[in-house]
């Protein structure tokens, strides 16, 4: 008999991934890594959607996942372009050094 993984496990995994991603966003200094952590959070959300889609047996969750993938792709294109532009102008991608937009 095929042993299926309970939905709760997926959700716990997604939550763990999300928290890791969030900590990365909040704590890491390299803009590129922060960027990757955002992708991680997006994919954690994706995992949650798919887990519930599997639980409910319909395709709405899949639909949302596809949207998120599309958004993530667009965000990666724009975000990487910004990172490259910032690096060119300042010679660094350390976000602690990029704090010129303040009072």
């Amino acid at each position: 008999m095929l042993q299926t993984v309970p939905t709760a496990h997926y959700l716990i995994l997604a939550a763990v991934l999300f928290c890791l991603g969030m900590l990365g966003v909040l704590l890491r200094r390299n803009a590129l890594v922060v960027f990757m952590c955002i992708e991680l959070m997006l994919n954690a959300a994706n995992l949650t959607f798919l887990a519930f889609a599997r639980e409910r047996g319909d395709s709405v969750g899949h639909l949302s996942a596809f949207f998120i993938i599309a958004v993530a792709a667009a965000e990666a294109a724009v975000g990487l372009a910004i990172v490259i532009a910032v690096f060119r102008s300042r010679g660094t991608v350390n976000i602690e050094e990029i704090q010129s937009m303040k009072h």
Binding site: L26, L27, I95, E96, S100, K102, H103
Partner: protein
């Protein structure tokens, strides 16, 4: 005679079609105003003249056709209460409605508004023509003709309107145009002020008009809710009356003229009954009617320059002279008289209102005449004489002589327009000299102006064969013989005031004439020689002078009518307006609020008396200003304070300034200082800005530029929100 009658009663235009074309009469000057106002500068002076004069001329021709159609024996205007004979009109649909209240675009021309049409467009046309000469050097000609045309359009709306709200559109329109025209030379602060004064004074009256209209709606609404039994009247069943009334109100609106007329027919039996429903609950119908009429009187006093609102009219002479002739002689100021002739069926139901109207009219006539005695400006004298003559008209309305009041409107339009235009011609030919003490001897140099001015002067003083005599005498005669039930003393008082004023009129008009035209030329005159005006200016003068004479046929008692078995002699105008005042006459016969003389009075005696008054007063003026004053050079010291008192217009303006204008200005200034400057500008506007700025100054230190810090705050907030949501869900 038969053939002539048949000719006048067979119109070349189908009356129904004429009724449907009534809007064209208004639309033509309106279009003219648009073209002159927008394109006047581009198309040039000559073309603007053509458009403006042509528009009014076209309107006049159409008015003639409509007038013919009104007299057609086939003519009838539809109304919810059966067709109205000797009238044409059409309903052009709903203007607006709210709940059960409704106003329609209805235009009607009957004998009353038809005559007004001819006066407005006819005299208006002559004045337009005259203006092309008078304003030939003014750069603002396009503006002037646009306003003039707009004015005519507004006045035509006023007389053609079939409901009070539409009438009010014209009413406000003439108010606006008078403001624009009086303040036409607005770069002169004094003239701009005169325009503003006219507008504000009129607004006070308009307020009364509006409140009166609102109260009328309430009265009509309450009548529709009465039990049918209380609507029984001779020859009509209550249920029938009630259903037709409700139908009429829903079809044409509570403020349309047919509904108001039917209201007047219903009211006689209700006058002492209390209103049972609505905000006026507990008030007797008669009292409500009196209040409404007095408020309408306030409105009419504003437009028609009666006490206490007459002060704007003499100042209105600041406008160009043709404007004075148009607004303050022929059209605008007659709108109050027109309104009361329209509502005559309501007026005769309230003796109190009649007495007040008669007394206001008589005292205005006297006060204005007394002021006119000493004025030195040629236009000022004419302005006060206008106020005085308007007082006569109100006197006529107050004593129930509506036809006589209206006849005086018509004749006054002719001779006063002639006088004003003559005065303009005198000024034009004398280097704009206005002071009659610095004129004199103009007679030989301006023969046409002299002749026409003399005819018009004789007409206004009431010398026998001229039109002014018949109209003024008809009013005074009515004041003498008609009695207002319960207020007989008011009628007598008004009559004697009227007689004194008639003598005064003759005196100050002859004074004006002698000082301007006779005698030697004054030593301090601006130009040594006057020059006669161009034919385009004298032409209208001649026409108007002829009309001032010819209009007398309206006053001749030549119509013999069968009334209840006896033959009654009526003046032509009285007979002509009979269809308009049919309801009014029925109500007078029914309620006896207006006591008419039982037998015919000999008219000849009254004629002789009126003629004597005019001649004696005129002779006195001749003696004083041609014999006595040139000899003694100076007024006796005893009379000097009186002269000063009159010359300063009884200090009415000063009293108004002290009692009304100053306190109001004070309140306005206090409101400006406290509410506007402190509360709104200080606390609200600047306060908001200050709070925002200070908050920003404090909070901006939170903006560190550290993106991760922002993200952390966001995450913590989201987490907090999550925890709160969970706590709400968890038991």
């Amino acid at each position: 005679m038969e053939k002539l009658q048949l000719f006048f009663q067979t119109s070349p235009v189908d009356p129904t079609a004429a009724g449907h074309a009534l809007w064209l009469i208004i639309a033509l000057p309106l279009l003219g105003a648009l073209i002159s106002g927008v394109f006047g500068k581009i198309i040039g002076r000559q073309n603007t003249h053509l458009v403006a004069v042509g528009a009014v001329g076209g309107s006049f021709l159409m008015s003639l056709l409509v007038f013919w159609a009104i007299n057609d024996f086939r003519s009838s205007a539809g109304s919810p209460f059966g067709p109205i004979s000797y009238a044409v009109g059409a309903d052009f649909g709903t203007w607006f409605s709210a709940g059960s209240f409704k106003v329609t675009f209805g235009l009607t021309a009957d004998h009353l508004s038809g005559s007004m049409l001819l006066v407005i467009t006819g005299v208006g046309f002559l004045i337009h023509l005259y203006s092309t000469g008078y304003m030939s050097h003014d750069a603002g000609y396009w503006r002037f003709f646009a306003y003039l045309n707009l004015f005519i359009a507004a006045m035509l709306t006023l007389v053609l309107a079939d409901s009070l709200p539409l009438l009010f559109v014209g009413w406000e329109g003439v108010g606006l145009c008078s403001y624009l025209l009086i303040g036409f030379w607005y770069d002169d602060a004094q003239k701009a002020f005169a325009g503003r004064k006219a507008f504000i004074t009129n607004r006070i009256g308009d307020f009364g008009f509006l409140v009166a209209a609102f109260l009328t709606v309430l009265v009509v609404e309450s009548i529709t809710q009465l039990p049918v039994a209380s609507l029984n009247r001779a020859g009509a069943d209550g249920a029938m009356v009630a259903s037709r009334y409700a139908q009429g109100v829903s079809a044409r609106g509570a403020l349309s003229m047919p509904v108001l007329e039917e209201t007047a027919r219903i009211l006689p039996n209700l006058l002492t009954q209390e209103i049972a429903t609505g905000p006026l609950k507990g008030l007797a119908y008669g009292t409500a009617l009196t209040i409404i009429l007095l408020l309408f009187l306030l409105g009419a006093a504003g437009k028609s320059a009666q006490i206490p609102l007459y002060v704007w009219l003499p100042d209105a002479m600041a406008g160009p002279t043709p404007v004075s002739a148009l607004i303050h002689a022929a059209t605008m100021v007659t709108s109050g008289i027109y309104l009361f002739c329209r509502l005559s069926y309501l007026v005769v139901l309230s003796p109190t209102a009649m007495a007040v109207i008669a007394l206001i009219g008589a005292s205005t006539a006297l006060v204005a005449a007394l002021i006119a005695f000493t004025q030195t400006g040629i236009k000022k004298v004419l302005a006060y004489s206008t106020v005085s003559q308007l007082g006569f008209m109100f006197l006529g309305i107050g004593v129930g002589a509506f036809w006589a009041a209206f006849l005086h409107v018509v004749t006054h339009a002719f001779f006063k327009a002639c006088l004003f235009l003559g005065a303009g011609s005198v000024m034009h030919g004398n280097a704009d000299e206005e002071d009659i003490t610095r004129l004199g001897g103009v007679r030989k140099e301006m023969p046409v102006t002299w002749a026409t001015f003399l005819i018009a002067t004789l007409a206004i003083t009431g010398i026998v064969p001229l039109s002014g005599f018949f109209s003024k005498d008809a009013i005074l005669h009515a004041a003498h013989v008609n009695g207002i039930a319960g207020f007989e003393w008011a009628g007598h008082l008004a009559y004697w005031l009227g007689v004194v004023t008639a003598a005064g009129t003759s005196f100050y008009m002859m004074r004006l004439y002698f000082l301007t035209f006779e005698g030697e030329r004054a030593k301090d005159a601006k130009t040594p020689h006057a020059h006669e005006s161009s034919p385009v200016m004298t032409g209208p003068l001649v026409v108007l002078a002829v009309l001032s004479v010819v209009a007398l046929v309206h006053g001749l008692p030549i119509m013999h009518v069968q009334r209840g078995g006896t033959t009654v002699t009526q003046a032509l105008m009285e007979n002509f307006l009979d269809p308009v005042f049919r309801t009014t006459n029925d109500l007078v016969a029914q309620k006896q609020f207006l006591v008419l003389p039982k037998e015919e009075h000999g008219l000849l005696g009254a004629y002789v008396q009126a003629w004597l008054i005019a001649v004696v007063a005129g002779a006195l003026a001749f003696f004083v200003y041609r014999r006595y004053l040139p000899a003694v050079k100076k007024l006796p010291a005893a009379l000097e304070p009186l002269r000063k008192f009159s010359f300063n217009k009884f200090y009415v303006d000063e009293v108004y300034t002290a009692l009304i204008v100053r306190p109001l200005t004070f309140v306005a200034r206090a409101a400006y200082r406290l509410v506007d400057a402190v509360l709104i500008d200080g606390v609200m506007v600047r306060g908001t800005a200050w709070v925002t700025k200070q908050t920003g100054a404090v909070l901006r230190y939170l903006q560190t530029g550290d993106a991760q810090m922002y993200a952390a705050v966001m995450a913590v907030a989201l987490a907090g929100g999550l925890v709160w949501a969970l706590m709400r869900v968890m038991p």
